[in-house]
């Protein structure tokens, strides 16, 4: 088995107009910048994008928004140091927002990948984000029901990847990516170092290859924060 792809464009070609795409990362940490930029080159439209945030500056997800590729964001915190790309379209009514508490977002993605259609959580009970959601009492306390979240394609970044798709992550760049890898109908990964089968200690595999459809090596990946500090923009 060899899930290695020849290029990022081969991976992102799976994203079609109108799809739901999960993109890994928490702010710039774990953001697959090169893969997002390859997606911008491919330019699918009318996407629903799932990420914790809604872009920062003029690269990555912010650049996708500026290119008019995103119809809806599902996120917990659409604010950043430079949130203009999202903010301007949102206030103009040109991009939809589904605001989800961060832990609920993580668990909805996990549930989507694990085949659990819904679950109950205390988060947002008694707030406007719980309005219209079914609730139930367990052991004397009210919980609300939240539904799973699945993606047509998940695009994530990992540190090491082998031909079977086994992955490790680098520090806090892990964040949502192992969950999104599970929740994507197809999952493509930019890995900082492609290694041979056996080079990743099985004890250290964080995402087992069964959740992965393709890997592409991008050595020395760019960091969103570093790009924003030099006011980079894409394309």
């Amino acid at each position: 088995m060899d899930k290695t792809l020849s290029s990022l464009s081969e991976a992102v070609a799976h994203v079609k107009d109108g799809m739901t795409v999960m993109i890994g990362g928490f702010g710039g940490s774990g953001a697959p910048i090169e893969m997002i930029h390859a997606l911008i080159d491919h330019r699918p439209k009318n996407l629903t994008v799932v990420n914790n945030n809604a872009g920062n500056g003029h690269v990555g997800i912010a650049a996708m928004i500026e290119q008019g590729m995103i119809a809806k964001m599902i996120c917990s915190f659409p604010r950043s140091a430079d949130p203009r790309a999202f903010t301007e379209l949102y206030l103009a009514g040109k991009i939809e927002l589904e605001l989800v508490p961060q832990g609920t977002l993580a668990e909805r993605i996990r549930a989507g990948g694990a085949g659990i259609p819904a679950f109950y959580t205390p988060s947002s009970v008694g707030t406007e984000l719980a309005e219209g959601k079914p609730s139930e009492e367990f052991e004397g306390k009210i919980y609300i029901r939240e539904n799973w979240l699945k993606a047509d394609v998940s695009l994530i970044k990992a540190e090491l990847g082998d031909p079977l798709g086994n992955l490790t992550y680098r520090m806090a760049a892990r964040n949502f990516s192992p969950l999104m890898a599970m929740a994507g109908q197809k999952t493509f990964v930019q890995v900082t170092k492609a290694v041979s089968a056996g080079e990743i200690n099985p004890e250290h595999v964080t995402t087992p290859g069964i959740f992965v459809d393709g890997i592409v090596e991008v050595s020395a990946p760019q960091q969103e924060e570093a790009l924003n500090r030099v006011k980079a923009a894409y394309p």
Binding site: F26, S29, P83, Q102, G103, A106, V125, R174, Q223
Partner: protein, 228 residues
């Protein structure tokens, strides 16, 4: 009546006061911004393990400028450092720690806190772009939810109220409030005053508080070092 814009603790002093109650061996989440300052005043000899929503437990202080590793950040997207014993985990595990009741303490900022423990800290209700982050999860997670805040808004309006007027983050969650004028617990009766600045009277404090203050036993003098 006193002018509470003149006589009050600074945010740094409030953070210092909250830090004095950090327990040895506890797992603590500090909200982004002001609450993060609490870690700087952790008393010597107490071992506190800090949790951040984006999947790090037991991280260290901010690195010197120029030495940031942007894969090693906290929930406020600020760079932190490794310490012996740091652990990484994905977001679902991180919020299992939160909602599962595994954290001992979360210290959050707030726009408003009500006498029944309701907290509003995510939306001013004025439009713009709404953002919630992990706040609605955190208020249901830790064994104790504490708030650090100015006692009044910039306009001088009370932040401690009978009922919150802004959109709630969580209902009946807050147990303790550290303000610029006082330290209060929230119990079945409402706000219970534990400490207040010596320079203000009970009447002064009640006048800038939007709910009845209760006293149970002695009210201690609230002190913080002046040179923070």
């Amino acid at each position: 009546m006193i002018d509470v814009t003149e006589i009050k603790l600074t945010n740094t002093q409030i953070a210092w006061r909250a830090a004095q109650d950090l327990q040895d061996g506890s797992y603590v989440n500090l909200g982004i911004g002001f609450p993060e300052m609490v870690a700087a005043f952790q008393p010597d000899g107490r071992d506190v393990i800090y949790h951040t929503e984006n999947g790090v437990l037991g991280f260290g202080k901010a690195p010197p400028p120029g030495e940031e590793d942007w894969d090693l950040i906290n929930a406020g997207k600020r760079a932190v450092t490794l310490k012996p014993g740091t652990a990484f985990f994905h977001h679902a595990d991180s919020f299992a720690m939160v909602r599962g009741g595994h954290l001992d303490l979360a210290i959050l900022g707030a726009y408003q806190v009500a006498q029944n423990g309701d907290i509003a800290n995510w939306s001013t209700g004025r439009g713009g772009v709404p953002a919630v982050g992990g706040a609605m999860d955190l208020v249901h997670g830790a064994k104790t939810i504490a708030v650090v805040t100015d006692h009044v808004t910039k306009k001088g309006e009370p932040k401690l109220l009978k009922a919150c007027t802004l959109p709630l983050t969580g209902a009946g969650c807050v147990k303790r409030v550290y303000t610029s004028l006082a330290v209060l617990d929230i119990s079945e009766v409402g706000f219970v005053l534990r400490e207040k600045l010596a320079t203000i009277s009970m009447d002064d404090l009640q006048a800038v508080t939007g709910a009845e203050l209760h006293a149970e036993g002695e009210v201690i003098e609230l002190n913080a070092p002046g040179d923070l």
